[in-house]
Amino acid sequence: MTESMDTATKAKLLRTLLDGGMPDEHGRFGPFGGRYIPETLVPAFERLTEAVRTTLHEASFQAELNAELADWAGRPTALSPMRNLSRRWGAEVWFKREDLAHTGAHKINNALGQALLAKRMGATRVIAETGAGQHGVATAAACARVGLPCVVYMGEVDMARQSPNVGRMRLMGATVVPVTSGDRTLRAAIDEAFRDWVSDPTGTFYCLGSALGPHPYPYLVRELQSIIGREARAQMLAKAGALPDCVIACVGGGSNAIGTFHAFLGDPSVQIIGVEAGGRGPGLGDNAATLTTGRPGVLHGTYTLLLQDAEGQVQETHSVSAGLDYPGVGPEHALLREIGRVEYRMACDDEVLEAVKECSTYEGVLPAIESAHALVGARDWARQNPGKRILVGMSGRGDKDMPTLQTTLLANNGVLS
């Protein structure tokens, strides 16, 4: 259905998006999105959609959210000029520092917003899924702050490679449930969270961590994360006196990227690039590069691009970063790719780890392995566009990745290779 889209249709879809017409009332971003859910969850989704419609942009909710974002979560986050990387790469490099946000990543913007919404809706408990553990930690923290019990589903593979985050969640009072079904990573954790919700659709609030899933999540998460791009755009104009020539961010489910990109979509001079997990290479099962290599289908309640075989079975993914290790992607990214407004590339595990090392060594910033995917793309862009200005979404810090880094970059007797 999507191959036949002509230039005029693409332009019209972009116009609708910029005018705030997406998603439409069915949760569609052009052909993508929607709400493919079990009948048991339909009333819960109706309630959530209604709460989002009436509450999210309402003045007292926004005032409460913004106060908490400032006083508790540490916003606005800094916009940093990265002088050493600029010199090395030959372009002007800026980081939007979501790694400085409370709990260490952009995830807190969404988790806090949803926890406050859950409280307003009278939920008795909050559930969440997590991959890298950042959304789990953010949700645990937000629930502790607003006073709601929190249960986090996490694949046992991820629990092993992100063990510091498991401890953090538990310290903040959350129950962490190991997921042993399916591929035992993020995708299985989402399956399990949905199964929990189906069992208690009335009292439970599902705090979904990325801009994916059934409507209204892709919209809700985008709205809560768009603060990244709004702040960055204003900071850029104030500090550099101009917009960036390029904005770049990593894409797994796509919440940090959509939040970073949204404020720039209407700036035609700004090139926008998303970088996916290229894993070991381009073969099916070797990466998590959904936008670059996927085909349309339905997973976790939304019609989007998926890594799947010819029979519609969803494929296992591989990435060194747990947070990008997901076979689908938010439906709005599928549209942005389709209409050509955003270009999506991939970065492979090896070059990503090199980027972690380079950024740490030359800028004193240890990036999350997820965020380092954007660094690979930024370096390549910078070398092709000398003297130009690039804004990198530094979505999170790499402290949580120490177990992985110990066995990769820090292997060989603890000496950087």
Binding site: P38, E39, V198, V298, E311, G312
Partner: protein, 264 residues
């Protein structure tokens, strides 16, 4: 006017209901064994009134541990929707109506128009798609309608009154009444008096609105539950309990006959 596949499904349940509650039996295609699928299907069809064939999917989000396990087991042997259609085409026609149950993505991958045609040809009378609510179902329903195949609608205990009317209005084949919130495979606590009254009231409400038979599914594991539901439903759907019986290599006939007669 000749009888459509959907009508045949409706009629089969109605015919049985004159004597007793109809038994709809679910098995995952190719589980526990691909080579035994035809035999398993034949045996199940001899002891049930409708057979629901599960198309395995990697992410069965409405299913409990048993169906998750059977789905993975089937997929690891190479079961696919194409294989299921080929098997049905190759074996002697099953005497009772067949229904395919699948998550939406394998159906999309097959191609909805081609699937409707192929499924009708091999005797499929209806589809159950647990992640395809009414709002997203128009395209597939229209494809199936060209061949008179039913898209079975699901209702649940938390479905609001207004929506229940909308779902029952225009329902085809039968209405799948989910007995409880949660995933498949748990047990309806038929011993708790208040809960049994609740399930009964809910099913009576659905039955009063539905133009087609109402079959109760989720959590039906033994004759006690069938007796509990008998006064309130046209059919009962057994899934996880049958899959577990097949998995253990025990007698399918014994389980299904006990469910059919309501006697252990």
């Amino acid at each position: 006017m000749s009888q459509t596949p959907a009508d045949r499904l409706t009629q089969a349940i109605r015919d049985v209901r004159r004597d007793r509650v109809a038994l709809v039996a679910f098995l995952t295609a190719g589980f526990p064994s691909m080579t035994k699928f035809r035999d398993d299907l034949t045996t199940v069809a001899e002891h049930a009134d409708v057979v629901e064939i599960g198309v395995p999917f990697t992410d069965p989000m409405a299913d409990g541990v048993t169906i998750q396990r059977s789905s993975m087991g089937a997929l690891s042997q190479g079961v696919s929707l194409h294989w299921i259609i080929r098997e049905l085409a190759a074996m002697p026609p099953v005497k009772v109506p067949l229904v395919l149950m699948s998550y939406f993505n394998p159906l999309l991958a097959y191609g909805l128009d081609k699937l409707a045609a192929d499924a009708a040809l091999v005797g499929v009378t209806g589809f159950i798609v647990p992640d395809l609510p009414l709002e997203e179902s128009a395209v597939f329903e229209a494809e199936l309608a060209r061949y008179g195949v039913a898209l079975v609608r699901m209702v649940t205990p938390v479905t609001p009154e207004e929506r229940l009317h909308k779902l029952c209005n225009g329902a085809q084949g039968f209405v799948y009444a989910v007995t409880m919130t949660g995933t498949t495979g748990k047990s309806v606590e038929g011993t708790a008096k208040d809960l049994s009254a609740e399930v009964g009231t809910y099913l009576d409400r659905v039955r009063a609105l539905s133009p087609v038979p109402v079959c109760a599914g989720f959590g039906i594991r033994g004759p006690a539950q069938v007796r509990l539901l008998d006064p309130h439903a046209d059919g009962v759907i057994v899934g996880s309990a049958l899959v577990e019986t097949l998995e253990r290599g025990e007698s399918v006939a014994a389980l299904l006959d006990s469910l059919r007669t309501g006697v252990a």
